[in-house]
């Protein structure tokens, strides 16, 4: 087993501990919001409610992510966008999409989705060859469009519910199920990526540098593709809306 994978497992363990300890700290001593009972709607219930027993921890993590984003991640992304022209950035994003397409194959197989497995495999074959190691994406115009399948969805297809809502450090909105899914996908991706790195470089010290370099680049490229910025939605209920939409979005994705 290689070092990067070990570090990831340690991180995942720390994360689990944080979840468990953070969950205990939520206080329930607030008076209730005043109800606006609509005369036309006596059966009024909470229209936007999600299972979020660790809300105190989650909100703290949301705030941490805001700080990380604002003072580190977004400035790095801006520098990345300033230094590299759009066409190069698209190439990099395509390259990583192709590299980690293997996760889609893996999850499609586990979900027993033959069509999806063929689709993802075809994408790898065409994009790696005609697409010059994945820098271009000729598979999409050929009709093999990208379909994101992660292990969280696989668990969902197997009938596992989302469990409590969970805000992950840096990665943001998730659930216990999807958090575990993210860990499994990361493990699969890491095994695959180290295998690919090994094929390219045989010297051990170079290999680690290359691995960490491209892991960093991968996350920067990924963040660059997401325009969301924390606390810029103009709503005091941003946390609630993001949670609600995330959970619904996952429901819909699993149904697809």
């Amino acid at each position: 087993m290689r070092k990067p994978l070990r570090i990831r497992i340690v991180m995942a363990t720390v994360l689990m501990l944080l979840m468990v300890t953070g969950g205990a700290a939520v206080a329930q001593d607030q008076p209730e919001a005043r109800k606006f009972t609509d005369p036309n709607d006596p059966g009024y219930e909470k229209p936007i409610a999600n299972y979020d027993p660790w809300e105190g921890f989650n909100r703290s993590m949301y705030k941490f992510n805001y700080g990380f984003d604002k003072y580190f991640f977004v400035p790095v992304v801006k520098a990345y966008q300033f230094v590299l022209p759009q066409v190069v950035r698209t190439g990099i994003a395509n390259f990583f999409n192709n590299l980690y397409e293997v996760e889609n194959v893996f999850n499609n197989l586990l979900q027993g989705n033959a069509e999806g497995t063929v689709n993802s495999t075809a994408r790898i074959v065409f994009n790696t060859t005609i697409g010059l190691a994945g820098i271009l994406d000729p598979a999409t115009p050929m009709g093999f469009t990208k379909m994101q399948e992660d292990f969280g969805q696989t668990l969902g297809v197997w009938g596992v519910g989302p469990g409590p809502y969970l805000v992950l450090p840096i990665l943001g909105p998730s659930s216990v199920r999807d958090g575990i899914g993210t860990g499994v996908d990361a493990a699969v991706g890491t095994v695959w990526a180290t295998f690919v790195v090994d094929e390219i470089y045989s010297s051990a010290s170079d290999r680690d540098k290359l691995y960490w370099g491209w892991t960093g680049l991968y996350y920067i490229s990924k963040r660059a593709g997401i325009p969301f910025r924390y606390y810029e939605t103009g709503s005091p209920f941003e946390y609630e809306y993001v949670r609600y939409i995330y959970l619904k979005y996952r429901e819909v994705e699993i149904e697809k």
Partner: protein, 427 residues
């Protein structure tokens, strides 16, 4: 490209709803004759002028009141944010005031920035006094919607904003514009500027103003009420449907903001019926008003939603407040909070007087004689009550430009409309 293909799909699916406007009017080329569609969809790319994607914009933050306490629950909103788009050379500067609930960086404001920057103007963009960040940092009464006080707050912010960037931009003279509620405020701001004479605006353009705020908010309330219906549980099930529709159409590569623009994007992808479009406009405003009302209630400790004495902290769950505030119509806000609050300050003020004060009619003589103000709206603007378009035509006379279609602000990015706005300030 994606936008274009969606448009084509729309045209194929709803040929009856779409008539090429050029067939009837000649010059003005805007595709939607239905005001609801226009308001929701806005202007498809092919009907827009060629403008730069990006303009050099810089964001700033202001401390408006030194002694303002920012509640813990709004910790992230400290400092009033605005933006400057400067020209390198000496140029006129246009202040842009955003519409109801919208921020200085909303898509409509950005559209104006692109057009005005290309035409050689510098721009300072300010959030609406109904936007959370403005209420928290810059509202004197903290009860938004009062057009006289809100305009005074805006004027103070504009002064501070200009002071802050004065050494970064070379200004020859000052202009002012705003859309929707921001347009109505622009009229009051111009009148205020005559007294204070800080900017001495040379030209002012009102874009789709509300004439009577009270009438407009009632119309908007009805849009939601009409569709959602009266049955028990109707609102909840409506909400569930909308959020589900959103989740289905959600695309991580698009920006997320919880104001009117957010839901418009959803339904762009869902091709809804006219009734759904109408309710969606109402619901989008409802999201904006719930943000506004909760923020105001917390800032004032008024107790409309949050029981007095409640300590809202950074990690306090707010779901119950969100649920409760989504149930408050504009009329509820007016009756339960807005009017009682101002009535307590001026006990002689009747509700009728108040409603009249919150209107352009109250300053009609000023608007009639003030040559530097021009007004632009659409014949089918949804927020105007019967007779209000005639009032606008009559009051502004030759300074009124009324487009045949476009709904409420739907045509702001249309080629001819952009050319008109730019030319107005250039001439």
């Amino acid at each position: 490209m994606k936008r274009l293909s969606l448009m084509v799909l729309w045209l194929l699916l709803f040929p009856a709803a779409v008539v090429h406007a050029s067939a009837t009017t000649g010059a003005y080329d805007y595709p939607f004759v239905d005001p609801y569609t226009a308001t929701v969809i806005g202007t498809p790319t092919i009907y827009r002028p060629n403008l730069p994607e990006e303009v050099p914009v810089k964001d700033y933050s202001l401390t408006v009141f030194e002694d303002r306490q920012i509640p813990d629950v709004f910790w992230y909103s400290e400092g009033l944010k605005f933006s400057l788009v400067p020209q390198k050379e000496r140029a006129p500067l246009i202040f842009v005031i955003a519409g109801t609930g919208a921020s200085y960086q909303s898509p409509k404001v950005k559209g104006l920035q692109r057009a005005f920057y290309q035409a050689g103007f510098s721009i300072i963009s300010i959030s609406s006094p109904t936007h959370m960040n403005f209420i928290v940092n810059a509202s004197t009464t903290k009860v938004p919607g009062h057009i006289i006080y809100d305009s005074e707050d805006l004027y103070r912010v504009m002064e501070l904003a200009y002071q802050k960037v004065a050494d970064r931009v070379d200004v020859s003279e000052f202009y002012l514009t705003g859309y929707s509620l921001g347009a109505s405020q622009a009229a009051f701001l111009t009148r205020l500027d005559e007294e204070r004479q800080v900017f001495n605006f040379k030209k002012v353009l009102m874009i789709n103003p509300a004439v009577s705020l009270f009438n407009s908010v009632n119309i908007i309330d009805q849009m939601l009420a009409n569709t959602v219906g009266d049955e028990p549980g109707a609102f909840n099930s409506y909400l569930g449907r909308v959020i589900r529709a959103f989740a289905t159409a959600f695309d991580r590569s698009e920006p997320l903001d919880f104001n009117e623009d957010f839901l418009y994007r959803v339904y762009k992808k869902r091709m809804p019926t006219n009734a759904a479009l109408e309710s969606l406009i109402g619901f989008s405003f409802r999201i904006s008003s719930s943000n506004m009302i909760f923020t105001s209630d917390v800032m004032n400790g008024y107790g409309l939603l949050v029981p007095p004495g409640t300590q809202l902290r950074q990690t306090t769950p707010l779901t119950d407040y969100l649920a409760a505030s989504l149930r408050i119509s504009f009329l509820d806000y007016y009756n339960r909070y807005f009017y009682p609050f101002y009535h307590a300050q001026t006990p002689t003020l009747t509700s009728e007087q108040m409603q009249r004060e919150m209107s352009l009619q109250s300053i009609a003589p000023y608007l009639r004689q003030t040559e530097k103000i021009a007004m632009m709206t659409n014949e089918d603007d949804l927020i105007l009550a019967p007779g209000e378009i005639d009032f606008l035509q009559d009051t502004f006379g030759e300074r009124a430009t009324i487009w045949p279609t476009g709904g409420h602000c739907g045509n702001m990015e249309q080629k001819d409309v952009v050319a008109f706005m730019v030319n107005y300030f250039k001439e």
